[in-house]
């Protein structure tokens, strides 16, 4: 019988199994019930956690904008989210005429479901993980695909050309940013030698942030873009296209998209921590798994803070700027990184370098490429200022037709 502190999940499973078989249920049914319990608990906790998350983000975002944020309901406004939930639960759900019922109603549910699905494979603590899937890394990518599908369904399910347009722009943006994201995920897989998230965390004796900082940066940027957050939040910009793909959604259906966005931001921060910052690793995490959970949460909140910082500090990009950034900067850079990391790491390992040498070499190479590519970008980004006009002569009293013709000839 494992100890609770050293193996919480194992302990609970053992205890519940004993309890239920003691009640006379067959072992298969017990296994199924335990699987169901575990599968039901995690999404529930995630959804309840979102309540806190929304409050946290609103407070932080407000403070960054030099205002207070929610502070009326409860100390520091903690109950604000509950009040908002109460409002949104009782708002009228208007279903416009002519909508396709199944895509229209499925979209918000699928949007939340897709984000929650990622929690199933996320390693939360040394022996606490939903399911130790051997291909967890690409499972995350597949779950992201469901999210894009949800947006597409929302766009065409509403019988509204603005929603359709907004939906397609959103999906085109998400697809574009998924390319560098997927390729950036190759690098932790390479360094760990596995697609299993638990193994990737377990092999981060040195956090991969130090071994592949440029890849980490690119992954972070693409995750911010995938969540549809500022500065990439063109698709929900209030002044353009009304509200994009969720124009026709009211009440809780809209609330679900909102929840999905916040949860996506947090989940992708957690993914970043798992892939590049060592997940739950920390002193004594192995003996006390719950401590590992604490480390994971602390690190995730640090990354989430940076996400909110991006939102509060940066202006929104235009769509052509976003797409240029993606295809002309991020994709070539990440491909170059895969190239360089694969070659350099293999050469150093074959030459028998210890971990420290590997770390230093890879870090230096990354910094060199980053510096080099930023120099390249600087040269291309700032177009030379054009001369707008030559000096205009002052208006003179006697305006003759010939003189005005000459004056019209101002070169641009």
């Amino acid at each position: 019988m494992p100890n609770f502190w050293s193996d919480p999940v194992g302990f609970l499973i053992q205890w519940l199994t004993n309890l239920l078989t003691g009640l006379g249920l067959s072992p298969e049914l017990v296994k199924f019930l335990l699987a169901f319990l575990g599968a039901a608990l995690l999404p529930l906790m995630a959804m309840l956690f979102v309540v806190f998350l929304i409050w946290y983000e609103r407070k932080l975002y407000a403070r960054m904008q030099d205002r207070f944020g929610p502070n009326r309901l409860g100390p520091w406004g903690i109950f604000q989210t509950f009040a908002d939930m109460g409002k949104i639960f009782t708002k009228e759900i208007i279903t416009p005429a002519g909508v396709d019922l199944i895509p229209f109603n499925l979209a918000p549910i699928l949007a939340v479901g897709a984000v929650l699905l990622v929690w199933a494979v996320m390693p939360l603590a040394p022996r606490i993980v939903g399911v130790d899937l051997s291909v967890g890394l690409i499972f995350v990518i597949a779950a992201g695909g469901f999210g894009e599908l949800a947006i597409m369904l929302a766009g065409w399910g509403s019988n509204n050309k603005y929603a359709l347009l907004g939906g397609f722009r959103a999906v085109a943006l998400l697809l574009s940013y998924e390319v560098p994201m997927v390729i950036a995920m190759l690098i932790p897989a390479m360094l760990a030698g596995s697609l299993n998230l638990v193994e990737i965390v377990a092999s981060q004796d040195v956090p991969y942030l130090l071994l592949a900082p440029v890849a980490a940066l690119i992954f972070f940027i693409t995750q911010v873009a995938e969540s549809g957050r500022a500065p990439f939040d063109l698709v929900e910009a209030e002044s353009e296209l009304v509200a994009g793909y969720n124009t026709e959604y009211s009440g809780l259906k809209f609330g679900m998209f909102y929840v999905a966005e916040f949860l996506h931001a947090f989940t992708s921060s957690m993914l970043f921590v798992t892939l590049f910052l060592g997940g739950y690793r920390g002193p004594f995490a192995n003996e006390f798994p719950l401590l590992g959970l604490v480390y994971l949460m602390v690190k995730t909140f640090i990354v989430y803070f940076v996400t909110i910082l991006f939102r509060g500090a940066l202006p929104r990009f235009r769509i052509d700027q976003m797409l240029d950034l993606n295809w002309k900067v991020l994709t070539p850079l990440i491909l170059a990184m895969v190239f360089v990391t694969a070659l350099v790491d293999k050469i150093v390992v074959q030459a028998g370098g210890p971990l420290l040498v590997r770390t230093i070499v890879l870090f230096v190479v990354n910094m060199l490429i980053f510096w080099f590519s930023s120099k390249l970008l600087q040269r291309n980004v700032r177009p030379p200022r054009r001369k707008v006009s030559v000096q205009r002569p002052l208006a003179t009293a006697n305006v003759t037709p010939s003189a005005s013709q000459g004056q019209d000839n101002l070169s641009a």
């Binding site: 050309k161 697609l195 809780l252 070539p332």
Partner: protein
Amino acid sequence: MLDHWLYIGLFFFVAMLLPGAAIFIASILAPKKPNPIKSSPYECGIETVGESRIQFKAQYYIYALVFLIFEVEAVFLFPWAAAYNQLTLFMVVEGLIFVLILVGGLLYAWKKGALEWR
């Protein structure tokens, strides 16, 4: 491993059930007062003009296509990356040749202006 997928199946079921149940509760709690004006599609507050017909840009298709190509490339590269620790330098270079060929494709698309948003 089938246990794993059973868990994931149940998880997905619950993950879809929770928002579905929430929306169901909301549809019971919320008032229902439909009228034709509210139910008409939204168009900046004016009446809708014409059918729901949009001019679809071919650019969307190109982005989806380039994405598909790179996704398939990534699918080939994931096993290569998983086996990275056991590969020799020659095999690593082979994988990089694969990447290089597709970088060539990306450059072609770039030069042809296929990646511009018009």
